[in-house]
């Protein structure tokens, strides 16, 4: 798997030319455009070796070469140079991810920015390993309760329960303490199951009121499973989408939550996960590359942001941008601007 300098140069030229042109790259193009000081025949011989080694592919005998999954992988791991972001992009990112709003809002902002800067569909999934720290129940009116869930990470969730009957303040206090005893420390993702247990074991006495509360919480939590899709249409401008069937398949795939979920495994500590073409376990994704980064706040895992594009995506730009975004994202999450004064923007 060791390539000499000339082969490396050829491979990276093929990858970069193909990323730019979407056309198979021939030996002549390579010599002329990338000033390789050899004749096209030499390049041809080298390309043949690269093909035999599995780095390049040939769509058909009279076409140039395109990178294989293995070729892209080698390029990403060994040959690619990271790229500086353009000032335009930097400005746009900095101005848009301003950290205002709650976590949900920031997630939305980021998904939007990424899909705009990279012209690529962007998916954000949330994963709640965050745990319940405290539950408060506040009586708003005769038949309205507010339930506030505070998590260890500092997220505050709340929901309203409309009651069937009026309820004594003392009963509310009792229920609140039972809820706290049973649920403190429960990961938000598992709250659903925990609630079912609680309602069976301890709370039959308060059944209807408790039912109202529990259902209200369950519904609020279900919102969190939501997947955030942004800029799906962007990918359709790539030249690989001239085939109608492919468009349909892609739209279907991206609309199917399960497929995307399955495609995203946990990434390595602090690194971007790059899954190229057939490296994807999900067969439907074998023609695409998925690049994901973990979203963290105070070292807690909150979820994952992924962009999806053709294998022929601009790896250098995508990766540089995502790394930059990751920092901004973290800053936005930790320094929640809600806590800062807002007197300045009078609009």
């Amino acid at each position: 798997m060791k390539l000499d300098e000339r082969k490396k140069k050829i491979l990276s030229s093929v990858v970069e030319d193909y990323i730019e042109s979407a056309e198979p790259v021939g030996s002549k193009t390579l010599v002329e455009k990338y000033k390789l000081n050899y004749s096209s025949a030499t390049i041809r011989n080298e390309m043949k070796v690269l093909e035999e080694e599995g780095f390049l592919e040939q769509p058909h005998v009279s076409a140039g070469r395109i990178p294989s999954t293995k070729g892209y992988r080698y390029y990403v791991d060994n040959l690619m140079k990271e790229r500086k972001l353009s000032m335009v992009d930097i400005d746009y990112i900095n101005n848009t991810i301003n950290g205002f709003g709650d976590t949900d809002a920031i997630f939305e902002q980021v998904a939007d920015v990424v899909s705009k800067v990279l012209s690529t569909p962007t998916v954000i999934t949330r994963n709640n390993t965050d745990t319940i720290e405290n539950i408060k129940v506040v009586k708003i009116s005769e038949k309205l309760l507010l339930i506030v869930l505070m998590s260890k990470n500092g997220t505050v969730k709340d929901c309203i329960a409309k009651l069937t009957d009026t309820v004594e303040d003392s009963v509310i206090d009792q229920m609140t303490s039972i809820l706290n005893q049973n649920l403190t420390g429960t990961p938000l993702g598992e709250l659903h199951y925990a609630l079912n247990k609680v309602i069976r074991r301890d709370l039959e006495a308060f059944s209807t009121v408790m039912g109202d509360i529990v259902n209200s919480i369950k519904y609020e939590m279900s919102k969190d499973l939501k997947k955030l899709n942004s800029g799906v249409e962007k990918i359709l401008d790539n030249p690989e989408f001239t085939d109608i069937e492919r468009v349909k398949n892609f739209i279907n795939m991206i609309s199917t939550k399960e497929i995307i979920d399955s495609a995203l495994q946990k990434t390595e500590e602090n690194k971007l996960s790059i899954v190229i073409g057939s490296e994807n376990k999900e067969v439907l994704l074998n023609d695409y590359t998925v690049i994901s980064l973990d979203i963290e706040k105070d070292n807690k895992y909150l979820g994952k942001l992924s962009v999806i594009g053709p294998k022929r995506m601009d790896y250098a730009k995508t990766i540089s941008t995502l790394k930059y975004i990751k920092d901004k994202f973290n800053t936005a999450l930790t320094s929640n601007k809600k806590e800062e004064a807002k007197g300045d923007n009078s609009e």
Copy 2:
């Protein structure tokens, strides 16, 4: 614009056959398939008249006829018979729209059901003519306020404001009463502007805390503008989507909030709005039909549900289904199941 019985029969046969087959309908097909007791020559003469009158169109001289916008319009207004829903659909609708959850949840359920039963993209837009009735501010902890907005229609919205500084209870009371004095009666859709006015005029004294509160409310309200899109991919299975450009245009269009918004005018009292092809003011929609119904609760207008399909959509099924859905929808909204005991479903 009066058509004799034979012309009516021919027109409705052309429309129905074209809806089914997506192919221009010729005179021979008509005679054989729809047992018209005339020769194909007679039918041809009649079709020619119908074309001259603008009810039919001919893609080219050696093709059959397809309905024009005017033809579809006549069909929908005069010829179409409503169809009984299948038991499968009725069951599915009844089981899925169960009225549990808050208004948002019900909207989502309905959008999902509609797009599944009709295999068509479904868009729900919310329009808040609903007005503020009461605002409560509850102190949850030192630096956390809960703001609860209650509307005339009974919707309850709430949001959390994280404060920069601690705040006296008396200040909160003061602010609450100022908010109520200024905002009661304001339509939710205009709250954004009203808040800006308020903060300038009366509340400079409390600026930072008030800023926190106002921004929190603004953010919460912005969620309401959200458009709900369901089943966009469904439309791509129609044979008109073999042209790649058309697919891209459609996906772009449906992703562009403004276009859809502009397409939806207020409908007549208690009726479905059916806008066919070139009847759409928005040029990009001229090849599509948009059918919308108003969503109401206790005679208040809450928003609009629309399905979008090719002009060649199955009008009879779509309209029958939407009428049925409208009832279910209203029932779900009024008899909010949150208020009913949930002891029965122990899962």
